[in-house]
């Protein structure tokens, strides 16, 4: 990160000393504890008044601290709420924490500062039972309204087996149905204005263009959207809870399934965060392999976007072509990793295996094959006047809107903001690659598509560079916490076997601390905020996904659009519900 003004000094100049208590973390992000009653003004100051403001609420989450052993001088707290802010002007992050005591803590809502805080606060409420005073609609967001308990609290069991064999009885089914019934008032929607009665339309949870189980409740005047509310959580699997019961090593397969189109791209922020906690430096070869595979998955994900975006707008055929291309990507992926959609192939300290013999040929084949295909899709889709009519000027938002709502990735770049974490905060050796950041102009559906299409070309460039410059050397770091160590050595050397043995069984013991790592994933910034209590698994793993933020914005952009525009908008956002619900 670049040299930035010292936030602590700035904040102390504003609020005086004594307000903040800084906390050391394993990443470079300044972290401060702020008293509960001062949090809103601090947030406001950071967002609006400070020079080079922290305009984006990157993440808002909580930690159940009650069983944490290594708090190392942090203020006493049962539940801590964490605000992670991002300043584009400074290219710097800041983390604010609020210590809360008691079993049912409360604190003021920050929705008035960032509208984007709405869903985040609901999630914290849902998962931890923390109440946000002044929140416009504080209700469960991921769990069904009938759920008992707050899953991410430490007392909540992680395994369904604990709850007995599930049986859907008649009464239970009726109760669940009743709970899911849509009542506009509950969502802050008006049933009518003046003499216009709105039609409420439930789009989803099963609907062809919601791309998964998402429910959008629309208030319609004719086909025009007057208001919308989103009901998410149908794809919630509790990945963050799973992280707390798996070892650092065995959680890797679960990350693949967050953005299930992103494959190993999901592994990357996780292993980078763990490596940061453990102080591991992956060897060059591992880095380049990681970049290459991640870019393959960026292409794979964008291809799915491309095809389905076309299909959402009625183009039947391109989806077959893009999925076919994706299969070609998967062929390379399978040859290298053995998996296709979920290779689960990155490891703490490197990757699972070395590249197989002949990988170059496969990669070369793809690099040669793909560009003409992209050119053809341009003809079929991007240049189609019908598609242009459908997508241009539709669902647009400004750069300011995007920042306000936490938009990252192609959605941000489509507003003309040249911001790519691979360039701005290079990780895994991206600084050594040559590629451009494609940007759009208008922030509409069309531009978002254009950006992604161009990104595929850039990804291909990166892959070509990987192909030409693959370093020699080991694929796994020479660090005792790199899990598992080089297999060849494990099979013959006892010390390697011992490290391997403990790493794959009890799991590597990661030193206590906190670190977060956000990367430019397929859909935006995917970040893992990991807290180690010096144990074999995460004490808390927060997964910040781009889709969650992007989806929250839909009602804001969607008002005034027509139903088909909404479909275009949904398609252009390119979200994955597993990425939203986690």
């Amino acid at each position: 990160m670049e040299e930035a003004p010292d936030i602590q000094t700035e904040l102390e100049n504003k609020f005086g000393t004594g307000l903040l208590s800084p906390q050391g973390t394993r990443d470079d992000i300044s972290t401060f504890w702020v008293p509960k009653d001062r949090i809103l003004e601090t947030l406001r100051y950071l967002k609006r008044d400070i020079p080079g403001p922290f305009a984006m609420l990157y993440d808002l989450t909580a930690i159940d601290e009650r069983l944490r052993n290594h708090r190392d001088g942090q203020p006493e707290s049962d539940f801590s709420v964490v605000y992670h802010l991002l300043s584009f002007d400074r290219n710097q992050d800041v983390r604010l924490k609020v210590a809360l005591k008691g079993d049912r803590p409360r604190l003021p809502s920050s929705v008035s500062v960032w509208p984007a805080a709405n869903w985040y606060e609901r999630e914290v409420y849902d998962m931890f039972g923390v109440t946000f005073d002044g929140h416009p609609n504080l209700r469960r967001i991921l769990m069904p309204p009938t759920w008992k308990g707050h899953p991410l609290r430490k007392e909540h069991p992680a395994r369904a087996t604990e709850m007995g064999i599930f049986q859907l009885t008649e009464e239970k089914a009726v109760a669940e149905e009743a709970a899911a019934r849509f009542r506009p008032e509950e969502w802050g929607m008006k049933p009518a204005v003046g003499d216009v009665d709105y039609m409420f339309l439930n789009m989803g949870p099963q609907h062809p263009s919601t791309h998964g189980v998402l429910r959008i409740m629309l208030a319609l005047d004719g086909e025009q959207i007057v208001d919308a509310a989103l009901d998410i959580g149908y794809h919630h699997r509790g990945a963050e809870k799973m992280a707390e019961r798996q070892s650092w090593h065995t959680f890797i397969p679960y990350t693949d399934r967050i953005d299930y189109l992103g494959g190993v791209m999901n592994n990357l922020p996780y292993v980078l965060a763990v490596e940061k906690l453990a102080g591991i430096r992956a060897p060059d070869k591992a880095k380049v392999i990681r970049v290459m595979m991640a870019e393959f998955f960026r292409i794979a994900s964008h291809l799915v976007f491309y095809g389905t975006f076309g299909q959402d707008l009625g183009a039947l055929s391109p989806v077959f072509f893009t999925f076919n291309d994706r299969e070609r990507v998967f062929d390379v992926v399978e040859a290298v990793t053995g998996g296709r959609m979920h290779p689960m192939w990155f490891r703490i300290g490197g990757v699972a295996q070395d590249l197989p013999n002949g990988w170059e040929r496969l990669v070369k084949e793809f690099v040669d094959y793909f560009p003409p295909r992209l050119a053809e899709y341009d003809k079929l889709l991007m240049q189609s006047p019908i598609l242009k009519a459908r997508a241009k000027g539709v669902g647009s938002y400004t750069r300011e809107d995007a920042v306000e709502w936490g938009v990252t990735g192609p959605g941000l770049r489509a507003c003309g903001f040249e911001w790519d974490f691979r360039k701005k905060r290079p990780y895994s050796g991206y600084e050594q690659f040559q590629f451009d950041i494609p940007v759009g102009q208008n922030g509409d559906c069309y531009d978002r598509a254009v950006v992604r299409v161009e990104e595929m070309r850039q990804s291909l460039r990166i892959i070509e560079q990987c192909l030409k410059n693959m370093p020699e050397g080991p694929y796994m770091a020479d660090h005792p916490l790199a899990t598992p160590p080089l297999k060849k050595r494990t099979m013959h050397d006892i010390e390697t076997l011992i490290t391997h043995f403990l790493g794959v069984s009890w799991g590597p013991v990661i030193p206590p601390g906190e670190a977060s790592y956000g990367i430019e994933a397929t859909k935006g910034n995917n970040g893992y905020y990991l807290i180690s209590d010096g144990n074999t698994g995460a004490y808390r793993a927060r997964i910040r996904t781009p889709s969650f933020a992007h989806l929250q914005m839909i009602p804001y952009i969607g008002r005034g659009l027509l139903v088909p525009d909404l479909v275009a908008l949904l398609g252009s956002i390119d979200y994955v519900l597993a990425d939203v619900d986690r």
């Binding site: 007392e155 064999i165 019961r245 005792p480 076997l497 490290t499 069984s505």
Partner: protein, 912 residues
């Protein structure tokens, strides 16, 4: 307290410790091998290297072994210094040169100190291709597996086995790089504490052989805090289960009780639980009448209806409890049958002895000693006990106590007490006062100052004489021969000099006089202002507990039954044939209509019952046991016994339900039963404070019995059912049968295992203690039920027996004890069974001459008209007129000893 600086942060630590102990107590991780909290420092492994700096300006520092350096005021050390880290990694690299590539096939894997230390130092990649040294192994008997290749020459094994436990047959051989730890010749390890090698050895040289064929990694074992049931000491154990069978026992540290060690009976005796003598389903005599038909399996429902039927149609039910069963089950029985119909299940003689012990401990003023206190005693007198065989751990701690007094030299020489080699050099062979008066030579004789082998009456007389020497108020012994008197004076003098003397006695001589004499000695010492403690050996794991319930003796109950007022007898986990002569039990059996036995093993008593209900054994049931010290301790279920086996109190609650409707809710939970017991018997007030109640939670969670890395959850039952059943509920305790739940450091009575991140072996204990070798974090578990009343108005016992006079035709038969065999449950474990001696009669050399007998010759022993042929064993020190029969061995069960018997040469024809 002194201040030390670790990586530039100041910490307060106790003065005089070494830096390793101080840092471990502070929670730092310093790798180590040769240091063990009970064995202290020898500085041989070089692994605990840290950097020490002269002052804050010193940036270079020097590498020291932390275990050999005292924590002095202002010392500045660095654990994370790169050079120190590199040094430690090099030590591991060097240790790995010859370590075999064994982890996958090694029983230590996953709980191996060597593995932990290797990972902790960070040495991962080998740099040499040199060939590895190998060794041949030895067969060390049924308990311990030997795999010498894995040895890292830390010497912990011999230091424990020889220096600490007094073993002779394990030693170090060879020179140079061929150092070998083993026996001179193959054969079973003789020491009673050999099992501790499993935990002492930091790697897989010594592993649990009983665990080997059904091996399970630590991360898969479901464990719970348990109490050993194989003697009266109440050692704390961790029992581990997988796939529904009990797999092994590990030590559970209790700073006041067993510390770091267990005896072999306690460690390897668990297997009775899996033996073919287990009752796994209800059995009943199907035909009418009793005795004639055989027991046959019946369904649980039928068993229950029979039980209900029997209880409902009985006007009077006698309940025979058991000293090897927890308080709660005994109380449940007592509650079922009523106070007046409850028997403790002990024979009259035994009950009298145990009651006497309770009386003495209650009267005071000398309090009962915990095992930890025994270790710190500086003089000891043992009256009438063969501790190595009756209470082995007590012997182990008394063995340490003889080092107290000579340690004064060490202090004078200003050698720190933890500098083990220096201490042993300074102490040489010097030993503190330990006097043993017992019928025969015992395991502790090698460290005894003086020993005296005599009949119990003579032992008692010596004791009375010592008491009189200490305090003239105590009754004097008349006609004491001069040599005994001189001995008494020497003993008295030694005791008088001590600050914390201890007097040890117990029930094994079956003599109230010996116990009384011990009490007199202790009281006399107390009157002299010494901090004296008393320690009595109790015969079984809950002897004191049932004694506190004050039930009838077995004979009493039989008599009552014979008076014809009783139609049903319910026997709880008790083999009456082991306690009373056969005919007495037969009479009991004949006098009642229904004879119900609740037990986990098919004992002789169960075999004659009308209805046998399968009971859960110790690892399958929850309960409170009262040890010899009067300390009540809670033992938890490790796993729920498979249906239809039920905890005894569950069967009894069903009987109560039948007998008195509406009372069952008081019984529903374990805690309710305890509450009821406390109301009925105020002596048990503290029992409910032993451990958090069943509704206790840690941040809303139960404590998980399974480790967080437990595997196979979705496959282990997949061959039976694809639907994964929820884990069994445990309504009786705050522990869960699941990997879900609290995994950190629990309240000490509830800690199901010792594990900490990076510390997968038993050595993780250091994270659970307040300080190294100190109490557990949160206090050592257990509550003493008996505290001396300090009223001062106590009178000395004055019933001094007359001196024992041998007769020519009759011998006084006394029991001899064997660590393996004298206890009935452990004897059912196959590994223990291999070590049980065959039955014999022991006679003194003089008597042997008199009878013209030699070792191994068959002797005819005639007791009360019944004769038995046994091979003779000639014992040098056995006094004239006394013969010993081994207690508990199959052919000699139920003998009411002490008794007089005629002994002669067996006629060859009678041999058959």
């Amino acid at each position: 307290m002194v201040t030390i600086y670790v990586d530039n942060m100041p910490y307060q630590v106790r003065e005089g410790q070494n830096l390793l102990v101080a840092c471990l107590s502070l929670g730092f991780d310093i790798p180590h091998f040769c240091w063990h909290p009970a064995l202290h420092s020898v500085g041989s492994c070089r692994l605990c290297a840290v950097k020490i700096f002269r002052d804050e300006n010193d940036t270079r520092g020097r590498i020291f072994m932390s275990c050999m350096t005292p924590a002095t005021e202002g010392v500045r050390i660095s654990i994370n210094d790169p050079e120190a880290r590199h040094f430690r990694a090099s030590v591991i690299e060097w240790l790995m040169l010859n370590h075999p590539h064994d982890c996958p096939v090694c029983d230590e894997g996953g709980e191996c100190h060597l593995q932990d230390m290797t990972v902790m130092t960070g040495h991962v990649y080998r740099r040499t291709r040199k060939k590895k040294r190998t060794y041949s192994n030895q067969n060390l008997g049924p308990f311990i597996n030997h795999e010498m290749n894995r040895c890292i020459q830390c010497y912990r094994c011999v230091r424990f086995y020889r220096d600490y436990a007094g073993g002779r047959d394990l030693d170090v051989f060879g020179v140079h790089s061929r150092v070998y730890f083993g026996r001179l010749e193959e054969g079973a390890l003789e020491n009673e504490f050999s099992g501790n090698l499993v935990e002492i050895c930091p790697t897989g040289v010594f592993t649990d052989k009983t665990f080997k064929k059904r091996y399970t990694r630590k991360w898969d074992l479901q464990t719970a805090p348990s109490i050993c049931v194989h003697c009266g000491l109440g050692c704390n154990t961790i029992a581990g289960e997988r796939y529904g069978t009990l797999r092994r026992i590990l030590n559970r540290y209790n700073g006041q009780v067993n510390g770091y060690f267990l005896c072999d009976r306690g460690r390897f005796g668990y297997d009775f639980l899996n033996s073919d003598r287990r009752v796994r389903e209800p059995l009943a005599k199907t035909g009418q009448g009793s005795g004639s038909t055989a027991l046959e399996p019946i369904s649980a429902d039928e068993a229950l209806s029979r039980l209900v039927d029997i209880v409902q149609n009985s006007s009077r039910v006698i309940g025979i409890g058991s000293p090897r069963t927890p308080l709660e089950a005994n109380f449940a029985l007592r509650d079922l049958v009523g106070e007046e119909n409850f028997s403790s299940g002990m024979a009259q003689a035994e009950q009298d002895l145990v009651s006497l012990i309770v009386h003495i401990l209650r009267e005071g003023p000398a309090p009962s000693a915990s095992l930890r206190e025994l270790e710190s005693a500086d003089a000891a007198l043992i009256l009438g006990e063969d501790l190595t065989n009756t209470a082995p751990m007590m012997a182990l701690y008394l063995r340490q106590s003889v080092r107290r007094k000579p340690m004064a030299v060490v202090n004078e020489l200003r050698i720190p007490g933890w500098l083990d080699a220096a201490v042993r050099g300074a102490v040489q062979g010097n030993k503190g006062p330990l006097f043993i008066a017992a019928p025969i030579a015992a395991g502790l004789d090698d460290v005894a100052t003086e020993t005296y082998h005599a009949a119990p009456d003579d032992i008692a007389r010596l004791g009375f004489a010592v008491a009189h020497e200490l305090d003239t108020q105590a009754p004097a012994v008349v006609d004491l021969p001069a040599d005994r008197h001189a001995l008494a004076v020497r003993i008295a003098a030694a005791l008088r000099e001590a600050e914390r003397p201890v007097v040890v006695s117990g029930t094994s001589s079956m003599s109230p006089a010996v116990i009384q004499a011990a009490a007199n000695v202790a009281w006399a010492l107390h009157s002299r202002g010494r901090q004296v403690t008393l320690s009595f050996v109790a015969p079984e794991c809950n002897s004191l507990g049932v004694a506190l319930m004050e039930g009838r003796s077995l004979e009493d109950a039989i008599e009552m039954a014979e008076r014809g007022q009783v139609d049903t007898v319910v026997t709880l986990e008790n083999d009456l044939f082991a306690r009373a002569p056969r005919d007495l039990v037969d009479r009991l059996r004949a006098s009642c209509r229904n004879f119900v036995v609740i037990d986990h093993c098919l004992t002789g008593t169960a075999e004659v019952a009308d209805l046998v209900l399968p009971a859960a054994a110790f690892a399958e049931s929850q309960g409170t046991l009262v040890n010899n010290e009067g300390r009540a301790q809670r033992s938890y279920r490790v796993f729920p016994a498979p249906d239809p086996i039920g905890e005894s109190r569950r069967w009894l609650s069903k009987a109560v339900m039948a007998r008195a409707r509406g009372r069952t809710e008081e019984w529903e939970s374990f805690d309710d039963l305890v509450t009821r017991m406390r109301q009925a018997l105020p002596v048990f007030q503290p029992v409910s404070n032993l451990a958090p109640s069943a509704d206790a939670r840690i941040v809303g969670r139960k404590i998980a019995r399974q480790p967080h890395r437990c595997s196979g959850r979705t496959a282990m039952l997949a061959n039976v059912s694809m639907r994964e059943p929820p884990p069994p509920r445990d309504a009786d305790s705050p522990l869960s049968f699941s990997m879900e739940g609290f995994q950190g450091i629990s309240p000490p009575p509830l800690n199901p295992r010792y594990w900490a991140p990076g510390w997968n072996s038993a050595q993780s204990l250091n994270k659970f203690q307040e300080e190294i070798a100190g109490p557990l974090r949160g206090g050592d578990p257990g509550q003493r039920l008996i505290e001396p009343r300090d009223n001062g108005g106590r009178e000395y016992f004055n019933a001094i027996p007359v001196a024992f006079s041998p007769s020519d035709d009759e011998w006084l038969i006394l029991p001899s004890y064997h660590i393996f065999g004298s206890e009935e449950l452990s004897a059912l474990s196959p590994a223990i069974a291999e070590r049980i001696p065959s039955a014999y009669v022991a006679i003194g050399e003089e008597d042997a001459d008199l009878l013209g007998m030699s070792e191994g010759m068959l002797a005819r022993v005639e007791i009360a008209g019944a004769a038995e042929s046994l091979p003779a064993r000639i014992v040098a020190d056995l006094p004239r007129g006394v013969a010993l029969l081994p207690k508990g061995l199959e052919r000699l069960k139920g003998l009411a000893i002490p008794v007089r018997a005629r002994i002669g040469k067996a006629v060859q024809a009678e041999k058959s």
